[in-house]
């Protein structure tokens, strides 16, 4: 294709976009609205996921050592735990530290534990976090079988419930997003199909004067990607302002929204990608059947 022909295709697409004003408006609106809904759900799902992760991170395993374990054995065990691939974090808590934490837990009644320092009944222990929170139970079981370990505690029962809930949240979010993405594709492709159907005659005439298929396709291709692009930029801007407003004005305890920064790149990529891809795909597949003249 010659450069001047490419220029001609661009001029032609802009002219078509302008001339088919209402159709352009309809396509862009459809793309914008569906992508806006999709974007809202993606933001919602990512934030729910973040909250779930946050909740999951609070899950930890307490390992209590047998009385009489030597410092050397403790050191060895500490090193062993550190090198286990399932474990992300290990903190040694000597019995003195354990008592201090226990006292703090008692709050004002902390005085009840006064005097225990001399004859500390608490064992030495480790605080362990697993790399994958869902494996907590498994890792706890593993640790409890170690020679030096007396007892292992990790909030059995509660932890499992938490994971069930976070899993449901994630799966529902994913299903919603996939469903919406498909709906968006269908709606957008359909609208674009309509704009092309209205130009069936035009395509037939082009074929009669000897246009090659690619010559006919190019302006539609450019037009489709432009419609998709504009249709994606509008919801992106709206979402950006809306989310920014929420970040600044919403103040619910315990709920922390994800910061804009890394989130926005992903969302831009997703919406622009879907918009442009569907724009092109919709226009190419719709003209295909007219090209068989």
């Amino acid at each position: 294709m010659k450069i001047r022909t490419l220029g001609r295709h661009f001029r032609e697409s802009f002219r078509n976009i302008w001339r088919n004003g209402w159709m352009t408006f309809a396509s862009i609106s459809t793309v914008s609205v569906t992508l806006l809904i999709l974007g809202v759900f993606v933001l919602l799902a990512l934030n729910l996921d973040n909250l779930s992760k946050y909740a999951e991170k609070t899950v930890e395993i307490r390992v209590f050592l047998k009385d009489g374990t030597t410092d050397q054995q403790i050191d060895q065990l500490h090193n062993r735990l550190k090198t286990m691939p399932e474990i992300s974090e290990v903190v040694f808590i000597p019995k003195e530290e354990g008592l201090k934490q226990l006292k703090e837990g008692f709050g004002e009644q902390g005085y009840l534990l006064e005097g225990l320092e001399e004859e500390n009944p608490l064992p030495d222990g480790f605080l362990v976090k697993t790399l994958i929170p869902q494996e907590t139970a498994k890792v706890a079981e593993l640790l409890s079988q170690m020679e030096e370990v007396d007892k292992v505690r990790y909030g059995k029962g509660v932890v499992e419930k938490l994971f069930t809930i976070t899993n449901i949240v994630r799966n529902v979010g994913l299903i919603l997003i996939v469903g919406l993405a498909f709906t968006a594709m269908f709606l957008i492709a359909n609208t674009i199909k309509l704009t092309i159907l209205s130009r069936k005659n035009e395509i037939e005439i082009m074929k009669l004067v000897g246009s090659t298929n690619s010559f006919i396709r190019w302006p539609f291709f450019i037009e489709g990607s432009l419609l998709g692009l504009v249709g994606a930029v509008i919801p992106l801007v709206l979402l950006l302002f809306g989310y920014d407003y929420l970040l600044k004005h919403m103040d619910i305890p315990f709920i922390m929204l994800l910061p804009i920064e890394p989130l926005w790149g992903k969302l831009t990529l997703l919406l622009l990608g879907i918009g442009v891809f569907i724009g092109i795909w919709g226009s190419i597949t719709s003209i295909r059947k007219f090209l068989r003249v």
Binding site: R4, K207, L208, F215
Partner: protein
């Protein structure tokens, strides 16, 4: 220019549109195709620019074997054929100038050449002051002249016209015929399907009559031969 040997066309529903067609049309000829409605005139003409594919037989147009031609070669075949229709088939959204220029853009001609040539053909068909009008602002005769300008702008070897005067009054029809005749005199082959008894009997040319899918008559300087 056009050669057909034992050409058959059967449509999917089983109707036999054409059978045993054998014909030769030489370069520079002017040919009327006449016959009652539904006789196969349209199919006969559509075979020539590969709008319709033959079921059987051999068709050679301008050196292209249309029975074997590949789909992606069809545009190149059509660039050497100008097609004119009863309903003009102009792009409503384009001006007169743009409609004609379009046929040259397809061939990726330089803008300057397009400008020069489009002006020239619009002058030739008598529309030199209608460049910026849209088709719906023109009379039927004027629209048909735009269609003719579009058909000849790339200097094709063959013009195929399907009832070009079918929607026009007798005077306008005559003007259109004069233009086609002029084009023919420059050496372009013209094949024209028509119902127009007046014209066929007045401007004498070769007449091919089609009935029930067969060629029943082929005369030089023939007459229309049917009562309308």
């Amino acid at each position: 220019m056009i050669e057909m040997h034992d050409v058959w066309k059967t449509y999917e529903n089983g109707t036999i549109a054409l059978q045993e067609i054998d014909i030769t049309i030489n370069k520079g000829e002017f040919v009327y195709v006449v016959g009652p409605s539904g006789a196969g005139k349209s199919t006969f003409i559509k075979l020539m620019y590969r709008e319709v594919k033959p079921t059987k037989g051999e068709i050679v147009v301008n050196g292209y074997n249309l029975g074997k031609i590949k789909r992606r070669q069809i545009p190149y075949l059509r660039r050497n054929i100008g097609v004119i229709f009863q309903d003009y088939r102009l792009l409503e959204s384009m001006t007169v100038y743009e409609n004609v220029a379009f046929a040259m853009e397809v061939l990726e001609k330089p803008v300057r050449e397009i400008k020069r040539r489009v002006k020239e053909v619009l002058y030739l068909v008598g529309l030199k002051d209608r460049h910026d009008h849209y088709p719906d602002e023109l009379s039927g005769g004027e629209q048909q002249r735009v269609a003719i300008a579009r058909a000849i702008v790339n200097n094709p070897d063959l013009i195929i016209a399907d009832e070009p005067t079918g929607n026009l009054d007798p005077d306008t029809s005559l003007e259109i015929m004069k233009i086609l005749d002029q084009i023919n005199l420059q050496g372009t082959t013209v094949v024209m399907a028509t119902h127009d008894k007046e014209i066929v009997n007045r401007i004498k040319k070769r007449v091919i009559a089609v009935e029930h899918g067969r060629i029943v008559r082929d005369e030089m300087k023939g007459v229309y031969g049917y009562e309308n």
